[in-house]
């Protein structure tokens, strides 16, 4: 059956997380994605976690996850011949995703306007920490510093402690999706008879537009003159993370429209008669708050997290369990939905990873092909460029 991106040619000149995640979204849904790696390989090959904890650029989980269904070629773009080859690769691509420092491509004579002269359909996405312009364009950025400046980092954690970043590389993953969206939107304009474009995506600006609290509370600050702050643990009565017999849940009971049924559920129907019972939880009296919170905690601690969630879902409460990765991967729901792709890799063996973010009814995703070995497709890709006879020389000169 046809796939979403059949025939789409993508060149990935990007490393680590953001650019490669954009590339993965194209590759997993059928595009022909060529990943250009420096001779030592993508940075994510050198980060781990590694299979059996033995450092090996072929078995880094971060790389294996982000590069399924792609072809890998090696190319030293710091050589003039390398850049000549790069230009040919760009000219045959529909979408190019790059993450060099601002202005680097232009310094090489590969600015968008130059590239688009004979190729007005080209979509070039440039990912940088702070963007192609502005006073901070040459500043360094990383996951934690960009979450700090751009995102809701100041709100994560407890008011009694230091603020926390969000998990893993979420700012960069999010940025990668934003780039993939922009690229497809530009290709849609091309399909409608319009032109390509140069997309300037700052990870900082992706964070600045982050729906997770930042845009909401920036608007709230404009409206009220107050800024949002971290809150102490347990500050909302019968609402938020609480311990259970086997872990934690995060359930909304206090102050919600299902609070009265929740009092029945936990065997405290008597509290429904209290004058505070139908108020928002900020207006509970101290006595009522203590009664509710004590009864709620006592009810939860007698149950496993999945049971507590299942019982409270029955009466319409919003909530969920707080899963570890083990809980997640062994959970029956995700397993029954076929969420996990099984991948077999020549060096990392067989493992499972998260599969599709989207299930397309007419254009199903292809079966996953393992992330490429470093330069695995040099012969194929350079051969197609007519460089078959030059491979040996290019290799010995360190160009590929």
């Amino acid at each position: 059956m046809a796939q979403l991106f059949d025939g789409l040619k993508v060149l990935e000149l990007a490393g680590h997380v953001a650019g490669p995640f954009a590339g993965k979204l194209f590759a997993d849904y059928g595009a022909d994605v060529i990943k250009v790696e420096p001779p030592e390989g993508d940075r994510s090959r050198h980060e781990g976690p590694y299979k059996d904890d033995i450092p090996d650029p072929e078995t880094s989980a971060l790389f294996l996850h982000l590069n399924t269904n792609k072809k890998s070629i090696t190319l030293d773009v710091n050589t003039e011949e390398g850049r000549g080859i790069l230009r040919r690769l760009i000219d045959q691509s529909d979408i190019v995703v790059e993450d060099f420092r601002p202005g680097q491509m232009a310094d090489w004579g590969l600015s968008y306007d130059e590239l688009a002269k004979d190729h007005p359909d080209l979509v070039l996405a440039s990912i940088t920490p702070f963007g192609q312009t502005g006073p901070w364009r040459d500043y360094r950025g990383s996951e934690i510093t960009l979450q700090a400046l751009g995102g809701p980092l100041h709100l994560n954690g407890s008011s009694l402690r230091e603020p926390l970043k969000s998990g893993g590389y979420v700012a960069q993953y999010h940025c990668g999706v934003a780039v993939a969206y922009a690229c497809v939107a530009a290709r849609f304009r091309v399909a409608m008879g319009g032109k390509g474009d140069h997309i300037d995506q700052a990870i900082y600006e992706a964070q600045a537009g982050f729906r997770d609290r930042r845009t909401v509370y920036a608007t709230g600050y404009q409206y009220t003159g107050y800024v949002a702050k971290r809150q102490p643990p347990g500050s909302r009565i019968a609402m938020g993370p609480r311990p259970t017999a086997d872990g934690y849940v995060n359930i909304y009971a206090g102050g919600t429209k299902h609070f009265l049924p929740a009092l029945d559920l936990i065997g405290r129907g008597d509290l429904k008669e209290h004058e505070d019972a139908e108020k928002p939880l900020q207006l509970y009296s101290e006595d009522f708050a203590a009664e509710v919170e004590g009864s709620w905690m006592a009810w939860l601690i007698q149950r496993d997290k999945r049971e507590a969630v299942a019982e409270t879902q029955q009466i319409g409460l919003l909530g969920g369990a707080i899963f570890t990765t083990e809980d997640l991967i062994t959970d029956e729901h995700y397993r029954s939905r076929g969420v996990w792709d099984q991948v077999t890799h020549p060096k990392a063996g067989t493992y499972e990873g998260p599969g599709r973010p989207l299930i397309m009814s007419e254009t199903p995703r292809q079966a996953p092909r393992h992330a490429p070995l470093l330069g695995e497709h040099n012969t194929e890709v350079y051969g197609a460029l007519g460089l078959a006879d030059d491979l040996e020389r290019l290799r010995s000169q360190g160009v590929i």
């Binding site: 849904y29 510093t145 969920g320 997640l328 299930i359």
Partner: protein, 454 residues
């Protein structure tokens, strides 16, 4: 040669949404920003909780107390809910610019008829309700594609259209628990109840949904037919946890809460600076960066310390290193340290709250923030568009719609209702520009809120 007069890429694409709360409306936000005509289909015959902020009408005093304590999730202009809080709610107004609103209750026969007429006229339908709601309304994709075979329908329930958790209800914060993110981002030496809430999955789902919809539009240009896209909030976020999941499936390791830790970098955390709750994030990967950091801070003893000579050593003795740094960073003025570290080639970033963030010289220079004037609310600065296209200048176009603001133009001009038919829907209270008075729980407020200014 490209020029600067390119049309927005989604100009001419019409989208209907029956979305609630945060994630669904965020998808349509980013689609509308790039040119799509987005129509919110919203009932006035019942209130959608947590969507427009109308389900609990607070007094000014409660709203002010809440904002003052740093809880801004239901913020109103000047802390005043006004007579129509559903048109004044910060979370709603932060996503709904560029959209139109049509009053229509898909659960009632008249509403369903109007909705079916709308489905004929749109390219895309987006919803993020509990699956049973869509089933009860009888508007699943197999029904709608008979009306419009070119329709693209994005469905984004919390956990999927099938499976044991199919009808589980949850927000992004609950979903992030059920996929392991809440656990992962906690304090390494703390418990999940100290972690606080995040809505990270909503943010990722916004762009992921827009990516899916636009991809299906692109495909439709080739095939001529639409399709259904199922994007559970949970599954749209799972790839962002890939390396942690593979660590379990390859190595059997259960990821522990990471807080501000990095797998190999140290120092890698937030460090206090002068003032209350002032922090700076610092991320050191190499020996060179570590020396630059110590140069700026004036701590040659840390460079000389045997424990901190290599990246491996710094990671191994991370706690001691952090404590040594805390003692020094405390004396610095936050912004000064940020720029000095950057000038020295150190990856650092201040922890900015929204007030400081909105004064960022970088964002101001790039024109990220934009002003919108909303009738009855006034002019405010709002976060703008998260992506720049060099040859397609883009700005916010219209303010957030008040509920039912575009009823007439949609019912009459777009759907072809006659004036008489339209007036009849209005008379019967099915179409209008406010919720029925009986739906708005105002009555308990005066008795419990003697300090109300209203």
């Amino acid at each position: 040669m490209a020029n600067d007069t390119n049309p927005l890429p989604l100009a001419g694409v019409r989208i209907a949404e029956i979305t609630v709360v945060w994630a669904g409306p965020h998808v349509t936000q980013v689609l509308a920003e790039w040119g799509a005509d987005v129509i919110r289909v919203e009932p006035i015959t019942h209130i959608q909780p947590y969507s427009r902020g109308g389900e609990r009408v607070q007094t000014r005093e409660v709203a002010r107390r809440s904002a003052e304590s740093g809880v801004l999730v239901g913020a109103y202009p000047d802390n005043d809910p006004g007579e129509d809080p559903w048109n004044r709610n910060a979370p709603f107004n932060a996503h709904s610019r560029n959209k139109r609103s049509m009053a229509c209750d898909i659960m009632l026969p008249e509403g369903k008829e109007a909705f079916f007429r709308l489905v004929e006229k749109v390219d895309v339908l987006i919803e993020n309700n509990v699956p049973i709601t869509i089933e009860r309304a009888g508007i699943t994709y197999d029904v709608l594609k008979e009306i419009n075979p070119r329709l693209i329908m994005l469905r984004m329930p919390a956990y999927g259209l099938a499976g044991p958790y199919k009808n589980y209800r949850g927000f992004g914060t609950h979903v992030e628990g059920m996929i392991g993110h809440h656990w992962l981002r906690g304090y390494p030496d703390g418990s999940p109840d100290e972690t606080g809430e995040a809505f990270t999955a909503d943010a990722v789902a916004g762009v992921m949904g827009a990516f899916g919809v636009t991809s299906a539009l692109l495909k439709r240009e080739e095939t001529g037919v639409g399709q259904q896209i199922e994007m559970p909030l949970a599954e749209s976020f799972l790839p962002a946890l890939g390396e942690w999941i593979l660590d379990y499936t390859m190595n059997g390791r259960v990821a522990q809460p990471q807080g501000n830790l990095h797998r190999t970098h140290a120092p890698h955390s937030v460090y206090p600076t002068q003032g209350a709750d002032q922090w700076i994030a610092i991320d050191i990967a190499t020996d060179e960066e570590f020396r630059a950091l110590c140069d700026v801070l004036g701590t040659p003893q840390l460079v000389a310390d045997e424990r901190f000579q290599t990246a491996v050593g710094r990671k191994q003795h991370e706690k001691a290193l952090d404590e040594a740094l805390y003692a020094v960073t405390r004396d610095w003025v936050n912004d000064d340290l940020f720029h000095r570290l950057q000038a020295a080639g150190v990856t650092a970033g201040s922890v900015h709250d929204e007030a400081v963030f909105m004064q960022s010289p970088q964002l101001l220079e790039r024109g990220f923030f934009e002003e919108l004037t909303i009738e009855g609310i006034g002019t405010h600065t709002y976060p703008g568009i998260m992506t720049k296209w060099e040859h397609t200048p883009n700005h916010l176009r219209t303010p957030p719609p008040k509920i039912g603001e575009h009823n007439e133009e949609i019912y009459i001009d777009l759907l072809g209702y006659s004036r008489e038919e339209y007036d009849s829907l209005v008379e019967r209270g099915l179409v209008g520009t406010t919720y029925s008075e009986t739906l708005v729980p105002r009555t308990w407020l005066p008795a419990t809120e003697p300090t109300s200014e209203r």
